[in-house]
């Protein structure tokens, strides 16, 4: 285990029991007597990754003194929605490797990936309808809408260098930060508690999620598949103009701009991300993006500092740091 992975494991220690229950619930929820389905779902369990979103439900519950018996189920639902988006993302991205497991649409086909994602969404919503409060169903169906709208907007703005930084951030927010925000809000508020605390924790989650996505966008340009554990360079391949690229483009000369557009669009180019970093003078863009992520994490840290002292609060502080430092 790398040192950053060991660090994350230690940060999640205060909610170890909750995470174990979350994984049990998730496993039960995607069990199916159909052999065709369980072949697929067994594969998907290996996608599970860091499970940061589920952990945030539990940590925010603990840190606000709001933990209930149902928090582990809420965390499982959040993770299932995230899994569904990953499975459908693989159709979007043509990513070849995700977390070092051949992705679903490589081992099966696009059809199967669509259906497996749909199955995960359906199981997530079904579990939410069994909880004592409807808050989870309400917040997460609305969040799923926002995730989709974010992805649709992003697909619609491919190869569009005329986006503003605000527009790029709004897309990042909808497609990633909204689920982080919902996770933190539900942790702090489920089954229905204090709306003001919920709003605070929603903002905290939004800032962490946005910082996480911006860090991800930087890793997609500069990381290696080995380090990151999934395909890198896919944003460039797919024509997605992320914040570091957009900033670099806005600051570039006309010549460099033309070269950047060529690197995105010329057919049969190998290793577009590396070419972009080298020939697009991406240094400044990456710096601005990382600075933006640091600002967001600083804002999140202020909110965390307002919580009463507890092991869960210390974990949230650590996660805020981890979002910036992580290499995977």
């Amino acid at each position: 285990m790398s040192s950053t992975r060991a660090w994350l494991t230690s940060l999640l220690a205060p909610v170890d029991d909750g995470l174990t229950r979350m994984r049990e619930i998730l496993g039960r929820q995607i069990e199916e007597p159909s052999a065709a389905v369980s072949d697929m779902t067994s594969h998907v369990e290996r996608f599970r990754g860091k499970q940061l979103r589920g952990a945030l439900v539990l940590l925010c519950g603990e840190a606000t003194g709001n933990t209930t018996d149902e928090h582990a189920a809420v965390a499982a639902i959040v993770e299932m929605i995230h899994l569904a988006t990953l499975v459908h993302d693989d159709i979007l991205d043509g990513a070849e490797v995700r977390r070092r497991v051949a992705c679903v649409n490589q081992r099966w086909d696009n059809q199967t990936a669509v259906l497996l994602g749909d199955f995960l969404y359906a199981r997530a919503f079904a579990l939410s309808t069994e909880l004592s409060s409807r808050l989870c169903s309400r917040i997460l169906s609305e969040t799923t809408r926002r995730l989709c709208v974010g992805e649709i907007e992003q697909a619609n703005r491919r190869y569009d260098f005329d986006m503003t930084q605000d527009e790029a951030e709004a897309i990042c927010g909808a497609k990633t930060a909204s689920l982080y925000a919902a996770a933190c809000e539900l942790g702090a508020r489920y089954p229905g508690g204090n709306e003001e605390v919920g709003r605070q924790m929603y903002d905290l989650g939004w800032q962490l999620g946005l910082a996480f996505q911006i860090a991800d966008d930087c890793l997609d340009l500069t990381g290696t598949t080995e380090e990151v554990g999934k395909s890198v360079g896919t944003d460039v391949e797919d024509g997605k103009i992320t914040l570091p690229v957009l900033v670099a483009y806005q600051r570039a000369s006309d010549d460099v701009r033309a070269r950047m557009r060529d690197i995105f669009t010329a057919p049969d180019l190998e290793d577009r991300a590396r070419l972009l970093v080298e020939q697009g003078h991406l240094g400044a863009g990456l710096e601005v993006a990382r600075l933006r992520a640091r600002t967001l994490v600083a804002q999140a840290s202020e909110r965390i500092a307002n919580l009463p002292e507890s092991p869960a609060r210390r974990s949230l502080e650590g996660i805020a740091e981890f979002v910036l430092e992580r290499s995977f």
Copy 2:
């Protein structure tokens, strides 16, 4: 308007007001400020088709004396789930024409079709969480799971001539009848009423839905795009062994079986469905399938006959006939 369309319109007359409200609710529910999203959703409204599933919610409500103010919303949710499966089906089928509108994945791409389907699911679940009773969320999330499992099973059994007729029917049931059954159950029971009546109407919907799907499988072999209003022959193209094909295969000589398998699998073959009907001696298979559909409709009609006399009951009787006679 063709005479069968005029007939269907007259059958739906007792719930005209409810259908108008259903369409208004559906339209509002898929409105989005995002131009990228509304471009897509405006297109999807033209997919709407017969809206039989939504109409069954309303008719079963009327026929059992169970109509509430929320039935139109329940019907809209059922139709939105159906729309989502259609949009995702277009990724599955490679169908080129559906209801004479260029389908979503032709005008946009697979990515967009995945996201639009996800968006429709999310909006359907979001609306269900706003209703006074959770019954709709519960029944429809479970139904969505079954729809997915049916589609996954079907994808898994492509080119599998060793299926039994029961297995073929179970797939048909999960992927189509389950939503008809849920529509009828919700109509009769929502927000929570008589479970026994709900069970009866569930069975009625199951039988109608299964008969509808078997009729669809026959039309895919023998209909024309012109008549049916969507691509035909796609089951054969996609390797789906439907009931009429399976029965014909089971009864065929070894020579004819080999030819049938070739028609399914030989590369670059044009018009596989026509070849199959001609060279696979599909007459007997089609006859058995149509007989099965008639039996199911007769069982459904018995249940309908047990309902008190009303215009809605007469419409249900007509719809049972329509399922067999329809050519679109």
